[in-house]
Amino acid sequence: MEQDFDVLVVGAGHAGTEAAVAAARLGATVGLITSALETIGQMSCNPAIGGVAKGTVVREVDALGGIMGRATDLSTLQFRMLNRGKGPAVWSPRAQCDRGLYRRAARSLLERHDNLQTIQGTVARLLMDGDSVRGVETLEGRRFGAKCVVITTGTFLRGRMHIGTTTQIPGGRAGDAATTHLAEQLENAGLQVARFKTGTPPRIDGRTVDFSSLAIQESEIDRFDYSWSHFWTTPRVSNGVARHPAQLPCWITHLGAAGKEIITRNIAQSAMYGGAIASRGPRYCPSVEDKIVKFPAAATHQLFLEPEGHDTAELYVNGLSTSLPAPVQLEILRSIPGLERVRMNRAGYAIEYDYYPPTQLDQTLQVKTVPGLFFAGQINGTTGYEEAAGQGLVAGANAALRAQQRDPLVLGRETSYIGVLVDDLVTRGVDEPYRLFTSRSEFRLTVRQDNALQRLSSIATRLGLYSEEEQTIAERRVGEVRDAISMAENSSIRPEQADPVLLAAGGTALKHAMRISEVAKRNGVALAELFSATGIATDLAPESVLSAELEIKYAGYFERERTHADRMSRMGEMKLEPDLPYEEMTMLSFESRQKLAGIRPRTLAQASRIPGVNPSDLQNLLIEVERWRRGPASS
């Protein structure tokens, strides 16, 4: 054994890097193994971080000490707050990144941890000790020991790329080889495996695009940072250098009748429609072929041309994911307004890959049948950098906690989208690549992008994920929300101060001075503007003021969600033994028995979320469990 670690992480994408950092922050010795150190933190697909629900996950990862938000802040070249028109309760940050800058930022953030070592190598097999994992061996013949191993191999396990019906290339990402040895071993270990597919659009040479006819989408970067961690310590502009790189615009064009006709004519040559691919892809991220076939009535489909970085003119054609043959892709591209003379740098492709149905995992993302082995990211049937990062953090932290023989970290659904994500994966499983939506959460009002630190910093502190300095900052930031609320409740605003704000929001003027908290309840009135009109609380972070505003405006609604959260966590306290004889519980429907026996929920709350287990089953389950506890021998 060349070296022994507490935790070994296999793969250094968005799941792997977060797993390694979380474990390192908890004080574990960590080895991060990847086939190519240069591709640490590579964005394989759309160069954007965030979006609806996903942006909140980035905040959560950041609040728990992760690197995604920090790397994004260092590489953002285009920013939009999605849903801005729908009120701050729904705001969703989304940043386009410079791919190269992001990679470098991620790698340097990893290297800040002395107890984290990066290793180049391709893992050939897991070293086992009975049922438990005890290390890995690489193709190069290097052997590393570990108490826990986190696998985050993304689409690399038996990845197969398709372009058209005849071109199939084994690989995990354009330009990178697939991993087959590990896949075989995992399958031999009795793990159930399945296939998903996803796709990516062509990328084009921006120097050959005629932008004059295209709609421009400017960056909205305006005092936005994903990460709270450097907000206080690093001024936005320091020594004349802004921390965010220069901003670049995106461009909007569309696929019209000509492009639709080309696709229709060539549909049989598409890998997906020509029969080369049978596995299921995500419905929310369809190929352009899917869009044309399923929504023939739509006259046009909008396309976003997104910059790949400052050091290249390459553009990502968002909305044009396809597996048609490359010549057809070029023909389509040239039918698009502004792209008449475009050159295609890289063709789009579809990729099929192995995933392991995540109901084989427990709430810590550990494989139930292989102690010490954790899975995170696309290997669990998810999509998205953010979903991968959230899982990486949970798996990495739990791997370290297990190595240290400490209690596991399980985030409840009421605490975070990460909690929803992990619970959905291990309780419900997936039948298409899983992506987070706000609809998946019961708590989309109280779990928001602005209050991630409030929700999670106490957990991070308790576990020891923060440095001393970070802990001080986090406490201060959490205190700010309380301060902002009490300032709003205890200060009043005069008509001449409030009226410009109120009238701009389409409201009516004040008759006399009023408490700020009362005025802030009005529709469309921002607490931040009332504060600045009165000249108080100007040093508070924008997120803190926003959180305070929402607490004031929607107090009654927040209360309802919190009541529901309390109920859920009470149900979460009702533990279920892992060895319950569900097969013998004749008071339950057969379907429930099967589902419960398969998932083996840890709590009644988790049991309640298993599809097919209905409320009447839960009551009967309680009776059966009680009966079993009183006399396991007799049942």
Binding site: V90, N318, S321, T438, S439, R444, S589
Partner: protein, 458 residues
């Protein structure tokens, strides 16, 4: 047909019970349900096997060659049976003894006596019936009237289930619109117009209102219409009561004030059960016990759906009508001129519009029942025979709670003051309270609808 996982529930034990009411009767039906039913039945029935779903005359033996009984036997192989399991129904001669002996033999051969409601529970567990239908079965079994039974049968047909499915679709549509609105801000179709959400809310509200509108009728069908017979002492109220129920139950006497307490009987009306209440005569009673009876009758009148103002003269009818209206009752009042066989004097034919009835000859009784039905129909709707009716107070409470939430949602949405995530709190509460009726609305159902309605995928 492929083996559905639910079918394996038949691996549970086999149960047996008498399916018809115990006691005297021409036939008794014994039901045997479970995987082992054929094996158990074969020990006692000959010939066996018999053709599925065809009633066959069989000899029943005690399993050792001793002949016990002849019976008609019908075999329903799983899953096409009431419970979804293999079911064998054995029709024996009625009475207490014969069926009990047969059941005893079947139990000796491995069947277990069923618990109350266990056949229906198995039907629900095996997906043969939804809960609404199961409740309808319970109602059917103890339906006190033809009307109640009709309503129960309509529910069993899935009439209510179908309406409830419409409601479910309406709720799902709103959820999907909000999900799209929040989760997909940059798509081809653009944002959802506020009016479209409003239309979806209105459609859900209309669905709820349709169901809620049947509540009063449902209660009438379930609990019966209270028909109070009121009048001065000695005008023949109890005789009328008895004539209506067709048998003597109250003490009928010439002495004023004998019926001290109210007496109630349920008769089978056309559309709903009628709960006839015979009351003490309305008059200023001095006797303490009798006064109690009078107060009781006043309370009955206040809670009545229909009051029959009885009298043997136009004055006495007018007097009763006046007393009833003084009590502030909301009931429909029908005048009944009693003892029409005794005094059909032209001068005193009764108050205008009064029904002439005779408890002695039965004259006018049918007309009186028709009038009662007519008044109730005016108040509660005649029902078109296929309008499903909400007969459970729990369902009514659920619908009302959901309605309140949707109304809150609508107001906030209309005023434009509620962001989608906030408005959705109302929606989710509504869906949650309806869950028992419409089944759970899963996020996958919502997403399915989003993806089939909108071309997403920036």
């Amino acid at each position: 047909m492929t083996e559905s996982p639910r079918r394996s529930l038949t691996q549970g034990d086999t149960i047996v019970a008498l399916a018809t009411p115990p006691g005297r009767g021409a036939i008794a039906v014994i039901r045997l349900s479970g995987q082992d039913a054929p094996r158990i039945a074969a020990r006692h029935l000959s010939p066996w096997p018999i053709e599925p779903r065809v009633a066959t005359l069989c000899e029943i033996s005690d399993g050792y060659g001793g002949r016990m009984e002849q019976a008609l036997v019908t075999w329903f192989p799983a899953p096409n049976s009431y419970t979804g399991e293999t079911v064998i129904e054995i029709s024996t001669h009625g009475g207490d003894l014969t069926p009990a002996l047969v059941i005893e033999q079947l139990v000796a051969s491995g069947a277990r006596p069923a618990e109350p409601g266990e056949f229906t529970r198995r039907a629900v567990l095996n997906g043969k019936m939804d809960l609404l239908q199961a409740e309808a079965v319970a109602d059917l079994i103890d339906a006190p009237s033809r009307a109640m039974r009709d309503a129960a049968v309509r529910q069993l047909d899935g009439g209510l289930s179908r309406r409830v499915l419409d409601l479910r679709a309406a709720m799902l549509e709103i959820e999907a619109l909000l999900a799209y609105d929040i989760d997909f801000p940059e798509e081809d179709d653009g944002p959802v117009p506020r009016e479209r959400v409003l239309r979806a809310i209105d459609s859900a509200l209309a669905s709820l209102d349709q169901l809620l509108a049947t509540v009063p009728r449902g209660e009438l069908i379930r609990s019966g219409a209270v028909v109070v017979i009121a009048g001065e002492p000695n005008v023949g109220k109890s005789s009328l009561f008895n004539a209506l129920i067709g048998r003597s139950r109250a003490i009928v006497t010439e002495i004023p004030g004998t019926t001290r307490d109210a007496i109630e009987a349920v008769i089978d009306g056309d559309r709903w059960p009628l709960r006839l209440v015979d009351t003490a005569g309305i008059r200023d009673a001095t006797d303490v016990v009798e006064r109690l009876g009078v107060e009781l009758s006043q309370r009955h009148i206040q809670g009545a759906h229909v009051v029959l103002a009885c009298g043997d003269s136009s004055e006495s009818i007018a007097h009763v009508r006046e007393s009833v209206s003084r009590l502030g009752a909301s009931a429909a009042v029908i005048s009944a001129r009693t003892k029409s066989d005794l005094s059909v004097g032209a001068a005193d034919a009764g108050a205008a519009g009064a029904v002439l009835v005779s408890a002695t000859t039965g004259a006018g009784l049918r007309e009186l029942l028709a009038r009662i039905d007519g008044e109730l129909s005016k108040l509660y709707g005649a029902g078109d025979g296929d309008t499903p009716v909400v007969t459970r107070s729990r369902h009514r409470a659920i619908l009302a709670a959901a309605r309140a939430e949707l109304t809150g949602f609508r107001e906030g949405w209309l005023a434009g003051v509620l962001p989608a995530t906030v408005a959705a709190v109302h929606l989710r509460s509504a869906v949650h309270s309806l869950e028992e009726l419409i089944g759970s609305v899963d996020v996958e159902d919502v997403l399915d609808r989003v993806f089939s309605s909108f071309c997403v995928g920036k």
